[in-house]
């Protein structure tokens, strides 16, 4: 018999959502990314609160569908709510997730998003995620997805992406 009490439903859904991955960074969960903001019980069903990373990030829709599907395996009446405020920031990305980024060849965000210089990448060194050299160069402040900038490493000569501090 499944325990249907609100608190155990919240717990079960939260656990279930640990396995929902970011469609663009498939080695990171939406929980790791700070995209899943809350799981709560409201008006007799589960509500999963998510927030988009960038306003136009196409992954938001996919994430919303994936979260809904996973949550409904536990509570068939579960809903997803998308909130904009407070605005998502890379400060919410867990330390573990940052380590996974490096292991997957993506330089994680450095510093705090409150530092405007970090946001625009001025005067900050982004170490190469492959060889750890600090001799790297910004190629473009934009990249393959809204959240990344393109770099190249002068030591190992590999191009790599940096998850922008945002």
């Amino acid at each position: 018999m499944i325990d249907r009490s609100p608190s155990s439903l919240v717990k079960a859904v939260s656990r279930q959502l640990q396995d929902v991955m970011d469609p663009e960074l498939t080695f990171l969960s939406v929980t790791d990314m700070g995209i899943l903001r809350d799981v709560k019980f409201e008006n007799g069903h589960i509500v999963c609160v998510i927030t988009p990373t960038y306003s136009g990030c196409p992954a938001t829709e996919v994430i919303s569908e994936d979260v809904l599907k996973a949550a409904r395996e536990i509570d068939p009446d579960a809903e997803v709510e998308v909130v904009l405020s407070p605005a998502w920031t890379t400060d919410w990305i867990s330390l573990e997730a940052r380590e996974k980024m490096t292991a997957n060849g993506i330089a994680p965000p450095e510093g705090s998003s409150h530092d405007k210089a970090f946001l625009t990448g001025d005067g900050h060194t982004i170490p190469c995620p492959i060889c750890k050299s600090k001799e790297t160069k910004l190629i473009s402040p934009f990249g393959s997805t809204p959240c990344k900038a393109s770099f190249t490493c002068n030591a190992c000569l590999e191009p790599f992406e940096h998850f922008k501090c945002f």
Partner: protein, 247 residues
């Protein structure tokens, strides 16, 4: 509703213009940059138009309906953002002049408490626009303080677009009512801040700030240049030809 439509339409029309560069920009990195900026603007559009469309409970409209099923005269964007892309320098000049304005406007919107939904959208947008403004400013400096060829061409781009900058600060009833309510910034104060930023970048770029001549206006009341009609025809053809189409 009008104030939010203006915000949404500025973002939508500029995004559509930038999207035209997809596959055509002078370098792969810039192709990606311009289309990434477009993507951010589309996201902002979705938020602003969804909110605008929800304000009249008797005739609610979705963001898609507002984007694809309004006629040219119903669009309230600035004339600046509908101007055709021209060459890369023209696109950068248009972006630079708009980004600095959009950034100041979003900073105000994010902090006001009259409309908290609009504040939440702006708080996200402000970080994105700050990034866009940094990019367009750097290009202005690189092109202005570059070769004699790039210098003269970007100077001409700025000169050509200057007549469209007055509209950003020409306050009408919507702006004045919005400013009194607290939702919108006071445009004369915004102009002072805009001037400082524009001048700072132009000086570093060794470019000359054009003299304020006769300014072109009309976009805010739906009187557009011929550029918009052609653009909308392309942007709207699919949903108008196949109503309710989805994939």
């Amino acid at each position: 509703m009008h104030a939010l439509l203006r915000l949404g339409d500025d973002a939508l029309v500029l995004a559509q213009r930038l999207g035209e560069w997809c596959g055509h920009a002078p370098a792969l990195e810039e192709d990606i940059a311009l289309t990434n900026i477009a993507l951010d603007l589309i996201g902002q559009t979705q938020s602003y138009l969804t909110l605008a469309g929800s304000l009249d409970p008797d005739a609610p409209k979705t963001d898609d309906e507002l984007a694809f099923l309004r006629s040219e005269s119903e669009f309230k964007n600035l004339l600046l953002v509908e101007q055709s892309n021209g060459h890369f320098g023209d696109t950068i000049a248009r972006q630079f002049l708009f980004d600095q304005y959009a950034l100041l406007r979003a900073e105000h919107l994010a902090q006001q408490t009259f409309d908290l939904d609009a504040a939440a959208i702006a708080a996200k947008a402000v970080k994105e626009i700050r990034y866009h403004a940094a990019h367009s400013s750097k290009w202005i400096i690189r092109l202005g303080d570059g070769t004699s060829e790039s210098h003269s061409r970007i100077q001409k781009s700025i000169d050509d677009l200057w007549a469209f900058t007055g509209e950003m600060f020409a306050a009408d009833d919507v702006d004045i009512a919005g400013s009194i309510a607290g939702l919108l910034p006071d445009l004369s104060a915004l102009k002072t801040q805009w001037d400082v930023e524009i001048d700072r970048v132009l000086v570093e770029a060794t470019l000359i700030r054009p003299k304020d001549g006769a300014m072109k206006t009309g976009g805010r009341t739906g009187v557009h240049t011929e550029e918009l009609g052609t653009m909308l025809a392309e942007m709207q053809i699919l949903p108008r030809t196949h109503p309710g189409a989805s994939w």
